[in-house]
Symmetry: C2
Subunit: 373 residues, 2 copies
């Protein structure tokens, strides 16, 4: 049984599914729910819908004011009236990923089988599982074919998985700052972050909520590590350089001397208020496990027959998901004969560029979408 | 009073100094000691000595079998009979840096003024302070002028500081994979590592030894973070890729699936046995504070008058101390009219290249040293 209700905890909607869902791990979940938000209007033919997939620490609120942060949504520059993803024209859907912590079922929800918080009993999920759940939502909204599925970073992974698994359901996809598979260096950064969380004694082997405790220190360091990888060396240089934080001289201590330290500590501290440590573990693991090349190869006929159009975008200074990896996507898609476009956007701002004001990025995305009939 | 004795804890020598040493912070230390090792023979004129400066986690044992690890010394490929730094010809000195944890006075020694372990009462030190202490050692050995001072990474910082502060005491220096000042990105990585240590409850505000405890988890994560920065993305790809660790399938859990995870955890775990958390804090802070440009400018006349020769080396795939930063050293040295050579060594192996078998690197270093009269 499936039912759509208003989401009272996080404004938007909830799709509640009273059914078993088999996951890649072989395990299943039941009674799961999907928290999502929509922007614009679904037309009568239901053929103007775009699905947006969020990145590791994103949520279902890309546009307008976010009810969580009370600031602009994380992709407000991209999504809205007269924006590249124009909500006057398109019906935009964004859901919190499976395993997340903003309303969709994740490790900190109650396991219906034990009536206790899942913790590490939550099954390990994959990007494919996240997309499976999104497909249920799209089906439930009676949308046969999406105009596009669009996302950056972990969002780009979902986007590529959509094209690989459900090529009959997408007219196009836009992969922004993504890859075919997570690199060894990226797995390493993820693992350092996970170890930081799991070695925090307050993690309690994942059952911290039972103990009314939280591994805030570990999660905060994990966020600091990750945050460094989101900026380019040049962005660090331009934003902070070696500027001191509200002082003229070095303090000769371990407090905050440099602006960059203040920034990093703030990033760590503020993150723990809005994100859950176990979700962080599950999502980074899903990224590590991601390798969509085989699925693309396996479904190449369907991808071609359905005439799925691909746009692959990267940023010059992104060293977490460098252009090289986007080119590997393009190369594979070309090798199966699919319709793929590629653009490398010139930006100094590293991986984070996909969330920032990058006119070339917006122009290319907007133009590509206009061409999708 | 100064006295040289045999070092019983770590084979080699100890220079014990019963005197006050004023540090950059304005504070002083007294009754400090310098642990060092030597290789080869000092000639009668005492003009065949080379000082080697170690990197963040190095020690005074670059050559032969290390008494600590029982493996080859950390620069065994570079230092020894018939090696680029030929111990048949040169008398090679290497000392553990001030603030270190291999015999030289550091935060985990007894503060003579309180008879308690220093902990955070140890004064914050700078690269200039480390070099000050090395100069005392060189003076004590009655060496007027060193053939060269050579080091990589944090060692390169000391090397440049030597030329800037004591140009009358060095014929040449070789800076390997170094910089004029620590970049914002590098400060950020250091800060993430420090936060990992300082947020570990077992750090006990630096007084963990009093409590017979150690922030091993925090130090281990700090090491993992740092270790990622020592390798290039390509090195990660070549060494590990997405290979699984002794298994055929993903485990769908948070144990070790990928070889790169096993490697990182091992790096973290083994580090805590040989390194001290407070030393890690003090040394990374010294690196953050490092900016030698002003000292070079200030002493440019002495650098020129003393005809100090410089060799600046970098590695193509080093993203922690990229070639760009070595070129900035060269540029500054050229601008003051000094005698500087530069070579960029082609290597896939990232910052760690300076410790590895890199024939071009060895050839250039050896040739440069031969030219020093």
């Amino acid at each position: 049984m499936r039912e759509i209700t208003e989401n009272k905890e996080y404004p938007g909607y909830l799709l509640k599914c009273n059914e078993h869902l088999k996951l890649d791990s072989g395990k299943s979940i039941s009674n799961f729910q999907i928290a999502y938000q929509t922007y614009g209007k679904l037309n009568e033919k239901k053929d103007n819908a775009i699905l947006i997939c969020h990145a590791l620490t994103g949520d279902q609120f890309p546009a307008e004011e976010s009810p969580i942060t009370k600031k602009n949504g994380w992709w407000d520059l991209m999504v809205g009236p007269d924006r590249p993803i124009d909500t006057n024209k398109y019906f935009v859907i964004c859901s919190n990923v499976l395993g997340g912590c903003v309303g969709t079922t994740g490790p900190n929800d109650i396991n219906p089988e034990t009536s206790k918080i899942y913790g590490l009993d939550f099954p390990t999920i994959t990007i494919r599982d996240m997309v499976r759940v999104q497909k249920i939502l799209i089906d439930e909204l009676k949308i046969i074919k999406l105009v596009s599925v669009i996302g950056g970073s972990m969002g780009a992974m979902q986007v590529l998985q959509w094209a690989a698994t459900y090529p009959e359901s997408v007219k196009s996809i836009i992969s922004v700052a993504g890859s075919l598979k997570h690199s060894a260096q990226n797995i390493a950064f993820d693992e350092a972050g996970r170890q930081s969380i799991m070695l925090d004694p307050k993690w309690h082997n994942g059952q911290y909520l039972d103990k009314d405790d939280k591994p805030e220190n570990g999660l905060s360091v994990a966020r600091m590590i990750a945050h460094i990888t989101y900026l380019s060396e040049k962005a660090f240089q331009n934003k902070f350089g070696r500027n001191l934080q509200e002082k003229k001289d070095l303090s000769f201590g371990f407090g905050i001397d440099f602006q960059v330290e203040s920034y990093l500590r703030y990033q760590g501290r503020s993150f723990v208020d809005r994100f859950d440590a176990n979700s962080y573990l599950y999502m980074t693991r899903a990224m590590d496990y991601f390798d969509v090349s085989e699925d693309i190869q396996k479904n190449k006929e369907e991808i071609i027959n359905n005439e799925v159009r691909f746009l692959v975008l990267s940023f010059t200074s992104d060293w977490l998901f460098p252009t090289k990896e986007s080119k590997e996507i393009v190369s594979l898609l070309n090798s199966i004969g699919s319709n793929v476009s590629f653009a490398e956007v010139v930006s100094d701002r590293g991986h984070d560029s996909f969330l920032l004001d990058e006119p070339q990025f917006f122009r290319v995305s907007e133009g590509f979408l206009k061409g999708i009939k």
